[in-house]
Amino acid sequence: MILSRREKFVCYAVTYLFALFLLAPIVWMLSTSFKGQLAIFQKPPSLFTEFTFQNYAAVLSDPQFLHAFWNSVLISSGTVVVSVALAVPAAYGLSHLTGGRRAGFLSWVLLVRAAPGMIYVLPYYLAYSQIGLIDTRIGLILINSVFTIPLAIWIVIPFFDAIPHEIEEAAIIDGATRFQTMTRIAIPLAAPGIASTAILIFIFAWNEFLFALTLTRFEARTAAVSILSYMAYEGTEWGKVAAAGALILLPVLCFSILIRKYLVQTTAGGVKG
């Protein structure tokens, strides 16, 4: 469409103002992460007063933070493995069902996913205290799966659906068993979708807060929760908090740029209309 000057101006104004709104807080956090404690509370504030890596150095030499970071890596990866291993065959099976059964299962999965996290925390807390899963990585992986398995099913199904059934039939005529058809045809074809699902689950698990907050102490504490320990009663160490925040942000940022093509469609998890 050929836009008039005024329409162009409106478009530019809307997008750039929003970009500012979007970026300003993040940029501010980054700038804070490079400031010393005094500069942080300087009035009036300014974006770049001093530039120091001391906050990063402090955070990166804090064994508790590093431990939490490593936990996040393990828990997120574990969640990915468990969810993908369970969701992919189910999605494959579902994509071969039609009508009521498929819609029924999918609605159920969606309802489960739509439930507030708090409703799961209480029973999991009670059960984990009994069976010793509090403060374990396994425990977190398990409860994360409550959300990530449905998520994965929803995201992977369209990729299986998109495989023309003729391709699978060709494989059947070529003598492939149903399992071989899945492993040698369907999964390789859905691989980009499965990979981006895996990354999405990783991000989900990485970002998860409520479960990690309530079901861990120190052994399995995750990076997102570890930030809290820098936010103390008196004199929060904002520089460290900001640096830790930036470090926690980094992996999800890299991953989401990697899968940006799929991110929108997939995070929608069935938003099609």
Binding site: P164, E166, I167, E169, A170, A171, I172, I173, D174, G175, A176, Q180, R184, I185, P188, L189, A191
Partner: protein, 332 residues
């Protein structure tokens, strides 16, 4: 090499009967074309032969063996799909050899068969490409290659050319016929394009609503359609139908005449009407005429100038070109 025969085969989806009861014999080594309008059950029939759909009744024999309950890969058939159904993540070589590798054939055998198929189809230069890097015609050939290495007695094609553009379609048509000549296998070919059916088949099977309307050689079907449906389906432009007096005088309730058999005459003629529209095809002209009784007919005539638009004309036809039907059956 194998003939295929279906005896009282039925197919019901839920409550919807797609193929009521169908018997058909496909001669060994023939190129048999199943043709019919969309939704008439051609694909369903083909897929039943392949074993991709169960039968709801009846028997299917391939090469004299009852295969009704045999799995697809054991039926000695190969199938080429409309969409080619290539494995997009495998190279051409791997696509062609997938079935052999699943069957754990020795490497040398696999290699030999792939080489031979590639040679027949002139695919050698592309063996290491992925399907996405091939043109439509080349993909089509890979799909055929995949069929060839199975050494099937019967090749099944489901509208294999409908995704190609007109020029390529013409060319692939010729290549397929060449292939048939070379391999000598039985081929069953589904299409809804009557030109394709006419030009390719040894034997045409015209289907309608899950039933066989007529089976025979192309020229036989063209010259002696057994039902109004076949008459209307085969031939382009479409045949003209007449009811009423002219039909009754010939002992039927309907007669049909092909547009190329109608003539515009100076005087006399069985019909008269007004030229509604002239469609110039170049050498020929399609003349759309509104008859005095309101019927619309089409005549294929040699070039007629646009000045004839709206002219009143008389139309005639030789007796031998009438196809007469009564109760939906040809009357001879």
């Amino acid at each position: 090499m194998a003939e295929v025969s279906l005896a009282d085969t039925r197919k019901v989806f839920g409550t919807h009967t797609v193929i009521p009861e169908l018997s058909l014999s496909v001669p060994d080594g023939s190129f048999t074309v199943l043709v019919g309008p969309s939704g008439c059950g051609k694909s369903t029939l083909l897929r039943m032969i392949a074993g991709l759909e169960t039968t709801s009744g009846g028997r299917i024999e391939i090469g004299g063996r009852d295969v009704t309950a045999v799995t697809p890969s054991q039926r000695g058939i190969a199938m080429v799909f409309q969409s080619y159904a290539l494995y997009p993540h495998m190279s051409v070589r791997d696509n062609i050899s997938f079935g052999l590798r699943l069957a754990r054939r020795p490497a040398a055998e696999i290699d030999g068969k792939v080489r031979r198929a590639a040679e027949i189809l002139q695919l050698e230069p592309y063996l290491d490409r992925k399907p996405a890097a091939l043109s439509g015609g080349q993909r089509q050939r890979v799909a055929i290659g995949r069929a060839i290495v199975r050494d099937p007695g019967v090749f099944l094609f489901d509208e294999p050319l409908s995704n190609l553009d007109a020029a390529l379609r013409g060319q692939m048509r010729i290549e397929l016929l060449d292939l048939h000549r070379r391999l000598g296998s039985t081929m069953i070919y589904v299409t809804h394009d009557q030109v394709e059916a006419m030009t390719m088949a040894d034997k045409i099977v015209v289907m309608n609503a899950g039933r066989i309307e007529q089976a025979g050689s192309p020229l036989d079907v063209f010259d002696r359609p057994q039902s109004p449906f076949v008459a209307g389906f085969i031939g382009s432009p479409r045949i003209n139908f007449f009811k009423g007096g002219i039909a009754e005088s010939r002992g039927g309730d309907m007669v049909a005449v092909r547009p190329e058999h109608l003539r515009i005459v100076e005087t006399g003629g069985r019909w008269r009407g007004r030229i509604r529209l002239l469609e110039q095809l170049g050498t020929d002209t399609l003349v759309h005429v509104t008859l005095t009784d309101g019927d619309e007919i089409v005549i294929r005539a040699p070039r007629m100038g646009p000045e004839l638009q709206d002219a009143q004309v008389a139309i005639d036809c030789d007796d031998r070109h009438f196809h007469v039907f009564c109760d939906g059956q040809r009357v001879d």
